[in-house]
């Protein structure tokens, strides 16, 4: 297709540059040649410069180059898709598309979001999709920008979340400017990320771009969800489209792949006939409807539920939620069903980090295992995020949430309420109540300590937001799970879950994307991100983007001044090797100097306070921060915290 566009875009620039250089030394215009001269301030022109000055231009004038630019058509393609945002850090490889988005496209639907690092641009897509239930796009620079964004792409992949990643490139060598543009071009730009995207393409014509971009979107939102990539050729984008009419494939309604009804009925019979059925949920629930279905399923079965927290899968205070007693209920189980469980093997096996690795099943012999997931449809070879294989007695291939209505109907058709089920449910309810009391008691320890306990931080936050429409956008894991232990999660959008790929920095970048989706959802939602200091320092520029785009979010820095997980790992090695423990802090702590997060936030236009190390000062500071967030702005508190 490019052959039909006979206008070359860039030969002009070299001539202009040379001409400008050649004109640098001259007489003053209009002056007598010998009467007044000015001493040249630069060297005399080279032969090449002189030639450029005197010879005809190598290319047409710039104004002749563009009729209707191809990048405008690319914007038409993006506008044909339900994509509200394109997050970008600017790069010359996509300058044409950039300009078309903000001028031709009116910077609306999609709107360009300014990010200061490609990890932020892609990571925002990750967090956004979990809340908005649709992808947004990122537009990142060729080669170098892609490398910046690659970890966020990997997290997105490992978490099975949709995103459209667009990567700039200059494919035709004669179109590349000398120097940087060669370094930022590749013959196969997506090769480096191909192992962790679902599909990619590098369109070489506009019909190709239209079809592949729509296909990339479709692939991304088809379970198993995953990021897809489109390489945007800069030379194509900057070419003229003329009057050619190019069709854009329509994005029709798509139905989700559900499990085979007969297999779901078989699963229902196994579960309904069990003495102690257990449901293990991980990346199962996306919507409130899904949440209602999974609650109904558990209640119909009287099943214990283990929520692995990849999403907000199950109300944490529901009496059947036995996540805190996972080992106990697994030991009693005779049927275990994992629904979109990223690591079913890891759930039903113990593991100890010892020199001699020992793992054992947590279930008793003969326990039946059922798996329902679409993830088996998408496994790549290189990166090992697929975890160990768990043999299942019944494997059902289908999207978990989409299959729930069929599974629920099947269970309801075969399940009956028995005295055994009633007793089982009562036992679970009693255990859940006792567990809640233990958690509350556990939170009292170090309640008044400084640094401030993580339990205290979490409960001070909850005290301020519990009557709002709040959402926890960052993982609860590094908070010792205190939110999921003590807050009251009842809505699907109240928790964004885990990172998928465990790439540090996820919590910050994904929280910003989630906060954007919450803002757009309306109703004054309050996104809460408790971010580790190490995580935030991977992508501190989220603060600027939050301020620049007025994205309200309450950020509390869990500032334990260390990469604490790694500190514990090094200490473990020091103990194993029989050496002193003191040096474990070398390379793992973030002290000397301590990072002043409040100043950092302030420098980027974000309201902030801190460091706060007196627990009695935290509540009032949170109240002030919440007022800022409710006004539509981001706010940050730097809280000096206990390790976990």
């Amino acid at each position: 297709m490019t052959d039909t566009f006979d206008v070359k875009r860039r030969g002009f620039f070299g001539a202009v540059a040379a001409g400008a250089a050649g004109a640098a030394a001259s007489t003053i215009p209009g002056s007598p040649a010998k009467a007044q001269t000015v001493k040249p301030t630069v060297a005399a022109p080279t032969v090449q410069q002189a030639a450029a000055e005197t010879q005809a231009p190598l290319a047409p004038k710039e104004s002749e180059l563009v009729g209707r630019t191809a990048s405008d058509f690319m914007v038409d393609v993006l506008k044909s898709l339900p994509i509200d945002y394109v997050a970008t850090m600017p790069g010359s490889t996509f300058r044409g598309l950039h300009e078309s988005l903000v001028n031709y496209g009116g910077n609306k639907a999609p709107e360009l979001l300014t990010c200061l690092h490609e990890e932020v641009a892609v990571g925002m897509c990750h967090g956004y999709a979990k809340i908005a239930h649709k992808p947004m796009a990122s537009l990142i620079h060729g080669v170098v920008g892609m490398q910046h964004g690659s970890m966020a792409i990997y997290n997105c992949w490992a978490d099975r979340v949709p995103a459209l990643v667009m990567i700039g490139n200059t494919q035709a060598l004669e179109e590349r400017r000398p120097g940087a543009e060669w370094a930022h071009s590749a013959q196969d730009n997506a090769a480096m990320i191909r192992d962790f995207v679902k599909w990619d393409d590098m369109p070489v014509s506009l019909p190709h771009f239209a079809e592949s971009t729509v296909r990339a979107y479709q692939q991304s939102v088809t379970p198993p969800f995953a990021p897809t990539a489109i390489v945007v050729n800069g030379d194509l984008a900057e070419s003229s489209i003329g009057d050619v009419k190019i069709d854009i494939p329509a994005l029709g309604h798509r139905y989700m792949p559900v499990g085979d009804p007969a297999a779901l009925m078989e699963a229902a019979k196994m579960l309904a006939g069990a003495q102690a059925p257990v449901l293990v949920l991980d990346r199962c629930v996306r919507t409130q409807e899904g949440l209602a279905n999974v609650v109904a399923l558990a209640e119909a079965l009287g099943a214990a539920v283990i929520d692995k927290g990849g999403r907000m899968n199950f109300p944490n205070r529901h009496p059947l939620n036995q996540s805190g007693r996972a080992k106990t209920v697994l030991a009693e189980a005779d049927v275990v069903m994992g629904i979109e469980t990223a690591d079913l093997y890891g759930v039903i096996h113990s593991y100890q980090d010892r020199i001699h690795r020992v793992g054992r099943p947590l279930t008793k012999p003969g326990t039946k295992i059922i798996s329902l997931t679409a993830s088996e449809l998408l496994i790549h070879a290189n990166f090992q995020d697929f975890q160990r294989m768990q043999a299942a007695d019944l494997s059902i291939i289908g999207d978990g949430e989409s299959s729930l209505p069929l599974l629920l109907a099947a269970v309801r058709s075969v399940a009956t309420t028995s005295s055994a089920m009633t007793d089982r449910v009562k036992k679970y309810a009693d255990a859940a109540r006792e567990d809640m009391d233990r958690q509350r008691q556990a939170a009292t320890y170090a309640w008044d300590a400084s640094p401030i306990s993580v339990a205290r931080i979490c409960m001070e936050i909850y005290d301020k937001v519990q009557h709002e429409d709040w959402s926890l956008t960052a993982p609860s894991t590094f908070l010792s799970g205190w939110p999921t232990r003590l807050w009251n999660f009842t809505k699907a959008h109240q928790y964004s879950g885990e990172s998928g790929g465990y790439g540090v920095g996820y919590a910050s970048v994904a929280s910003l994307g989630a906060a954007l989706a919450h803002r757009d959802a309306g109703g004054g939602r309050i996104p809460v991100a408790v971010l580790g200091d190490g995580d935030l320092m991977c992508a501190p520029s989220i603060l600027w983007t939050a301020a620049h785009h007025s994205i309200p979010i309450l950020i509390v820095v869990h500032n334990n001044r260390a990469y604490h997980q790694e500190l514990m790992h090094v200490q473990r090695m020091a103990a194993r090797h029989g050496r002193g423990l003191e040096n474990a802090r070398v390379g793992t702590t973030i002290t000397n100097p301590n990072i002043a997060f409040a100043k950092l936030a302030d420098s980027m236009g974000v309201w902030s306070e801190g460091p706060i190390d007196d627990p009695n000062n935290l509540g009032p500071a949170l109240a002030r921060a919440l007022a800022v967030v409710k006004s539509g702005k981001p706010a940050l508190l730097d809280v000096i915290s206990q390790p976990r």
């Binding site: 100890q352 320890y445 309640w447 306990s453 909850y462 003590l486 103990a575 194993r576 423990l581 206990q642």
Partner: protein
């Protein structure tokens, strides 16, 4: 609960390598120093409140029980030999943990009146 049982069992089976119960009391100040320098706080919190590791304070287990578990843990905790933490160090840490005041009563913390 599993950890508590293991700790007790380990204490009962402890050979006579540690007669810590009969030894002089530890130095709480030095114990705090060790607790921080040796990284006990990483899993157990600065005041022993627990985290990834068990709660140690207030009311810590006797030194002999602590020593038994430290030397031969059965859970996720790595073993700490006398090469990295001496018996006297354990006594000192115990002395520090003994200084940790009782937590406030649950009923006196309004923020924890949740899920009742």
């Amino acid at each position: 609960m599993t950890h508590k049982i293991a700790l007790l069992a380990a204490a009962l089976m402890l050979p006579a390598t540690l007669a810590l119960a009969d030894e002089p009391k530890g130095d709480a100040a030095h114990g705090k120093q060790l607790f921080l320098a040796d990284g006990c706080y990483e899993c157990h919190g600065y005041v022993g409140q627990g985290g990834p590791g068990l709660r140690l304070a207030p009311n810590p287990k006797p030194p002999v029980a602590i020593a038994a578990y430290i030397r031969n843990p059965v859970g996720e905790m790595p073993p700490y030999t006398s090469a990295v933490l001496s018996d006297q160090g354990i006594r000192d840490i115990y002395a520090y943990l003994s200084t940790i005041p009782a937590a406030p009563k649950l009923a006196d913390i309004p923020l924890l009146k949740v899920g009742e």
